[in-house]
Each structure stands twice: as C-alpha cells, then as structure tokens.
Amino acid sequence: MSDTLLSAQDVSKDFAFGRSLLDVVKGAPIKAVHALNGVSLDVKRGETLGIVGESGCGKSTLARCLVRLHDCDGGRVVYDGTDIATLSGADRRAFNTKVQMIFQDPYSSLNPRMTVRQILSEALRVHNMRPKVEIDARIAELLDLVRLPQDAADRLPHAFSGGQRQRIGIARALAVEPEVLVADELVSALDVSVQAQVVNLLLELQDRLSLTVVFVAHDLRLVRHISHRVAVMYLGKVVEVAPTETLFKAPKHPYTQALLAAAPEVDPTRRTRRVAAKGELPSPINLPSGCLFHTRCPHAFDRCVSDVPQLTPRRPGHVAACHLPDPELP
C-alpha cells in the first residue's frame, strides 16, 4: 500500500522482571510481562488512527514503540519504507522530527525548570528548524497555533492549568514540524470541559497542517469522535481494526462488542442493566492459550482455547481476530 506512512509489523515487546542471583543459579525461567504480542498495524498518511483498549492492553507501549522510545523485541516499525531500528545519528534525529509524541500527564511531561520559551527554542535550535534571528517569531507563531497568549512564553510550566500545559506539549511537538503525531491519552487527565477544548484544537491543527495522528486512548467516545479508523487492543494484541463507523455500528470481535456495551451511553433513556463482560483481565505474565479473550468470551468454544485466531477480513478495511465469522451480540 502506497499510502501507508507508519506501520507496526508483528511487533512484540516484553518487560522482564529483575532476577536475583539465586534465580539465575537455579535456572529459573525469566519472568516477563508480555506487553505486546505480535502487533501489526498500518497508519495511513493524513488519517487519524484511534487505538483503544483497557489498561494493560499495550496501547501505550505500542505508542512508545512507534516513536522509538522503546525498541521492539520482535518485529519492526517501518516509517516511510525504513525500519526505524536501523536509524542512527542524523537519520534518527530526522525521524524524531517526523514522528512526534504528546504525553498523557500534563504535570510531568514538561521540564518544570524551563520556561515555555526555553522549551520551544531548544526544540527549534537543536534541529536547526529556523535561523537564530527567526526563533522568537516562530515561538510566537507556535503559541498562536495552540491558542496560548503571547505572554505565556516567559512563564514556567507550573503557572499553567492542565489544559494549557497540554497545549504547550503540542506546541513543543509541532516545533519540529512533524508529519505524524502520536498522542498517548492526550486528554484523559483533564476535566471534561477542558478535554473538549484540546480535542477541538487537535482536529483543527490536523486539518491545517495535514498531520497524521495516532490517537491512543481508553475513552471510546473520544476515539470515536476523533478517528477515521479504530484499532481495538486486548492483552498486547490487535483484535479488530475497522473504519470508525463500521467498528462502532457492527463490531465483529466479542471483546469489541463487550467494550462498546460496557461504555455508559450519554443518554439516560437508553440504559441497560446487563453486565457487558464477565471476569477480569488475565495476567499478562502468563497469557491464556489460543485466543487471549477466551477466558471472558461468551462465545468461546474448544478451538478458541487451542488455536490463535488471526486477523481476517470481514468487510472492506475491516479485520477481526475471531474464529467465528459473525458472533452475535449477546
């Protein structure tokens, strides 16, 4: 596919526990959290891809692999035809300017001892984005872009509210003029009314700057609102990918169905009193066999325990990893 800009190909990532000397001597097996278990996903130029899932599904780890904050243990991340693990030196820095990340926590993602001007000018200088004389003008432009007042430049992060800090984070990412923005839970730490402001800003910037956005979040309503396509993750695997409309109207994976049913509707006249998914998330240290969701799935049958389901096409652009062709909504 020519319009694929960034893709994860069978990416896996483990986080090993520390082993004591005794464990090594005894030859105890290395225990690890299997955060990603073979994730394949394409991000197309100009689209917003939503990645949704509950805590522990690996969505944040995947986001960090996409910008190479983590190196993958297996598989590869390809940007514009190049495996990003092979980049070094100037090429790696160039990649960093093309694929930028915005972080979840507005309080820890900014250096508390640097003013907004220092934060932005550092990004501009290190990557030689602008000649020295134009840096102040560019900072003013960036502040304008994220709708912060000009006098914000010389203040420290603690002078700002959570929503404003996220704008500073966005401005920092935009300073290096990226093509792709990976937003990890961009608004989940913010109040509802402020969330809407930041979401609006992101939508507007994407149009204006023709950005490709990977929007990682646990909030289904937000993901639905902002994404062209959505990928659903469970225990380090992508279980379903589809255009947003299709995914929310006709989900094909039982986990997606449960997730959608569990999310409370903002309409008090459409209440249900049925529990959407039984049980809890299995341990990511000892993963279930076969389909990872079989321990909670209402449709599980023997094949789900033994065989790992692959992502198979359901409709144009719609893939799901379920042995059943069309599981009925319970």
Binding site: V192, E204, H218, V275, E280
Partner: protein, 334 residues
C-alpha cells in the same frame, strides 16, 4: 409524598480561619429519597467530593462543616462524636475512588470486614464469620471462603472495589456514599461495579449518593442529579430531564463537551477557560467568565436555584433552554 431519608440544608465546608478561609462548599441543599441514586456531578474543584465527605463530617483537619444534614430526625452536623460514630460506617457507609489506599494493606480482608461487623452489629464470632463470607458472595467475589484470608494487594482493582463495598455493606447501611467509585477502573470493570451497586440498591433498599465527573456514569446509573460548580449546586433535577433540557449554561456546556455518536470529527461545544480556584471565585454567577450566555446581571448578582423539581441557578435559563440540549441534537442527528 415520601419523606427524604437525608435532608441537606445550607451545607458549607470551610477550610482555614478568618480572612484567608476558603469555602469549598457553599450553601448546598438537597434531599435524598429512599431507594434513589443521586448523582453529584462536577469537575475537579467543584466541591462534589467535599460535599460528600461533609455529610459525615469527614473533613481533613482545619475543615469546618456548617448548615444542617438531617438524618432520621437528627442533625449530623450537631451530633456528638459517639452518635456520629454509630452513623458513620453504620447506617451510612462510604466507598472511595482508590480502594488500595482505603483498605488497610497489612490486614487480611476478613479482619477488615469483621471489624465493621463488630462495631455495628451484635453478631458473635461465628455469626461474623458467616456474615463476612455472605457479604463477599453478595458483592460477587468468587471463591469467597479462601479469598477472605487474602490481603488487599492480592486483589485486582475491580475486586478491591468489591471488597470495599462488602465492608461498607457489613453494617446494613440505608445510605451508601460513593466517591468516584469507578474512576480508577477500566470500562468493562466499571460496568460490572456500577451494575453491582444498582443491584445492591434494589436488593437492600438503600439510597446511593454517587459522586462522579463522568456524565456517562450519571446517565447510566442515577435517578436524579445535581451539578456542582465552584462549590455550589447550579442545577438539579431528574437525570432524563436534565439531559433532555439543561437549564444552566454550565450543564449545557458539559453535555456538549462529551463527544456524541453522529457528530464525528466536528468541533465539540467546549467551554472556554478553566474552572476557577477557590481563592478566586468570580463575582456574581461563578460561571460568568466562561459563559456564552452571560449578560450584565450575571456579572453582578449571584443567581439562586429556582424552579420546582428541576431547579437551576441561571439568570438566562430561558436562553439556555432555547438553545436546546446538545445531547438531544446529537440523538436527532442519528
């Protein structure tokens, strides 16, 4: 007309003394009816959690509760410590957002449940034992006999919240106060816990006051709701009524801030600015600097809650009503 089981009048919560005193809760009045789920909604700093804690005078040192909270003919605000202890964790129980910090990490769950049973029931040792297991079954913890002897850290987040609820139910409360009970949980687990709370409400004929910032949770669980802003209730009414026709500009803005099906990739109806700090609450209507409907009177005079059943404290209620509900709009769009 049934009588409310809890009647709150002019409740205030103040921190500090004299000129530097801050009012986190200001002249809040509401009733809780038998068997109903009342939602207290607001953003951070709105005073919703402090309101809930004030009902049982559970404020940190330096906090002072004023007004009245009448419970079975008695005013909790004026109760002696001994009377208060009988009510706390007895007739009125409370559950919290983060069960890991609300539970004692060094005691097995059994001890923590039985502790409450000893304080609020006449059961003997054997009876307490049996009741503890019963409670664990009631809140849906599988393998309850074995899990009673485990420690809080051995439970998952959802299971811990169930344990919290089991402890809260030990004393057969008539009112459950829930402070963001599902905020720390995943959506499928949140769904389980909310359904559990509703089931228990039905089975045990309790009332519930649920504090949350999530309007989705309110829509899914509450009968009535009160929206708080800068320490005051700005709108109160039946959940269906409020969602269908908000009368306060802030409520309308909140509803519009939530993405709705059918409006994908459109601009959300956001509210400008951020909620005010307690030390700098604006004159007149506290919401006026962020309000699209604000007029001169909003900057001068604080509006009072008016209306019958569905009440709102907004000078321009009519304009807000005329603008319609953002939720309704989205629904008609589908």
């Amino acid at each position: 007309m049934t009588e409310p089981i809890l009647s709150v009048r002019n409740l205030t919560a103040t921190f500090g003394q004299g000129a530097s005193a801050l009012r986190a809760v200001n002249e809040v009045s509401f009733d809780v009816m038998p068997g109903e789920v009342l939602g207290l909604v607001g953003e951070s700093g709105s005073g919703k959690s402090v309101t809930l804690r004030s009902l049982l005078r559970l404020l940190p040192v330096g906090g002072h509760v004023g007004g009245s909270v009448s419970w079975h003919g008695k005013d909790i605000v004026r109760m002696t410590d001994a009377e208060l202890r009988a009510v706390r964790g007895g007739q009125i129980s409370m559950i919290f957002q983060e069960p890991m910090t609300a539970l004692n990490p060094v005691l097995p769950v059994r001890v923590q449940i039985e502790e409450n049973l000893r304080a609020h029931t006449q059961l003997d040792r054997k009876g307490r034992n049996a009741r503890a297991k019963e409670l664990m079954d009631l809140v849906g913890i599988p393998d309850s006999a074995r899990r009673l002897d485990e420690f809080p850290h051995q439970f998952s987040g959802g299971m811990r919240q169930r344990v919290m609820i089991a402890i809260a139910l030990a004393s057969d409360p008539k009112l459950l106060l829930a402070d963001e009970p599902t905020t720390a949980l995943d959506v499928t687990i949140q769904d389980q816990i909310l359904n559990l709370i509703l089931d228990l409400r039905d089975e045990l004929a309790m009332s519930v006051v649920l504090v949350t910032h999530d309007l989705g949770v309110v829509a899914a669980t509450c009968d009535r709701m009160a929206v708080m802003y800068a320490g005051r209730i700005v709108e109160e009414g039946d959940v269906t009524q409020v969602f269908a026709q908000p009368r306060h500009a802030y409520t309308r803005g909140l509803l519009g801030s939530i993405p709705q099906a059918g409006t994908e990739r459109s601009m959300l109806l956001s509210i400008d600015g951020t909620p005010p700090g307690l030390a700098a609450i604006p004159q007149g209507c506290a919401f006026n600097p962020r309000c699209d409907f604000a007029t001169d009177i909003c900057r001068r005079t604080r509006p009072h809650l008016t209306g019958d059943g569905h009440r709102a404290a907004c000078h321009n209620s009519d304009a807000v009503i005329a603008a319609g509900s953002p939720v309704k709009k989205a629904l008609s769009h589908v």
